[in-house]
Symmetry: C2
Subunit: 216 residues, 2 copies
Amino acid sequence: DAPVLVIGLGRFGAATAGQLDRLGREVLVVDDSAALVQKWAERVTHAVQADARSIDALRQIGAQDFSVAVCAVGSSVEASVLITANLVDLGIPQIWAKAISQSHGKILERIGANHVIYPEAEAGERTAHLVSGRMLDFIEFDDDFALVKMYPPKPIRGKSLTDSGVRTKHRITVVGVKSPGRPFTYATADTVISNHDLIIASGTEGDLERFAALGT
Amino acid sequence: DAPVLVIGLGRFGAATAGQLDRLGREVLVVDDSAALVQKWAERVTHAVQADARSIDALRQIGAQDFSVAVCAVGSSVEASVLITANLVDLGIPQIWAKAISQSHGKILERIGANHVIYPEAEAGERTAHLVSGRMLDFIEFDDDFALVKMYPPKPIRGKSLTDSGVRTKHRITVVGVKSPGRPFTYATADTVISNHDLIIASGTEGDLERFAALGT
Ligand SMILES: Nc1ncnc2c1ncn2[C@@H]1O[C@H](COP(=O)(O)OP(=O)(O)OP(=O)(O)O)[C@@H](O)[C@H]1O
Ligand SMILES: Nc1ncnc2c1ncn2[C@@H]1O[C@H](COP(=O)(O)OP(=O)(O)OP(=O)(O)O)[C@@H](O)[C@H]1O
């Protein structure tokens, strides 16, 4: 519930600030572009113009009082590293920073960013799973646990989950079902999947890819 | 299993092409920068230099034979629209395109992109959920179904899931548990969560936010 400091109103920073605001959090956004600050003045708790590479400028706006900060300045490695170093020197306990490459991210971690985000790389990896055409969404939570929203493969349609052997044969758990016009419902052993449904399925990445390809 | 055409080797395009290659898919990457094409020549099936705004250049490299294409040229709305229009005119059935704003994305949809991706916006929305400090990952699959990897809130630790009333009181389903040094395991009614575990929980966005804040 603590207020969040967001530096940089590019696409990623703007989306972060906007969503925080929608979640009811207080947000102070900082950008060195007066035009952007002006545009955001009414949308969040506070919008301030400053060059975040200057630690004094950050102190003047009270940055040291924040417990969470997001450095959303990506395209200049130098600027993002300087800004992140300032946030560390100001003693902010939780620092999130955007990186545009693995090596950029490693530098940010070394200088004290607790969490590094790679928006384009993560989206690219997700998209690669989706272009096979069968999955509508994909996320990997852990090395051995991924979740997929997909059309049910032919072999499991029109039967209960137990009868189609989803878990016993394919090592997949159908978590839930989304039938058209009805809200999401959790699946049970007797749930029958039709070809109008979307399913949310979990398993390892490999098992999910094979499952999605069944019957093709 | 059809080969994929990826246009643009920026961060998003490169991540998509790289992951497709890792998934064993054939990838043809196109970029108008000779340096980038050179760098990718050994990493994917084929890398070709071309200005994708020219439909003839695309025909010369056989773009019309692809059933899936990804336009990963984001920063110039004009270029991305021209390239996407070419992909549509070439009759490619599945076109994914990166957009840098809602209005950009709407234009791409109108001219025929089947799927529009907003990498920075999606990452920003996810990050906003994560900066509350309690969630380690978050994804919204549907209006009423989201999934979170998180530390278990105090009130549910040291008890079975049934005893802590996770579903009856909080409308949350604990899908699985990740204990340190052990693989992910699916949760059952008798699973007891300790404070060393990470849990993967599902529910609505609102219920998950409240659940994550329990005991704080
Ligand atoms: N030193 C700085 N102090 C404050 N704001 C800055 C500074 N440098 C850049 N910015 C702002 O940060 C924002 C994002 O910067 P930039 O475009 O470099 O990042 P990006 O990672 O490419 O963004 P996107 O999220 O759009 O991909 C811009 O609005 C810019 O004005
Ligand atoms: N007309 C074109 N034909 C082929 N490739 C192009 C064309 N225009 C741009 N590109 C390439 O596409 C890549 C990505 O372009 P750009 O940097 O504009 O997109 P971006 O959305 O900002 O990328 P990122 O994914 O890094 O955020 C660059 O490598 C560029 O050389």
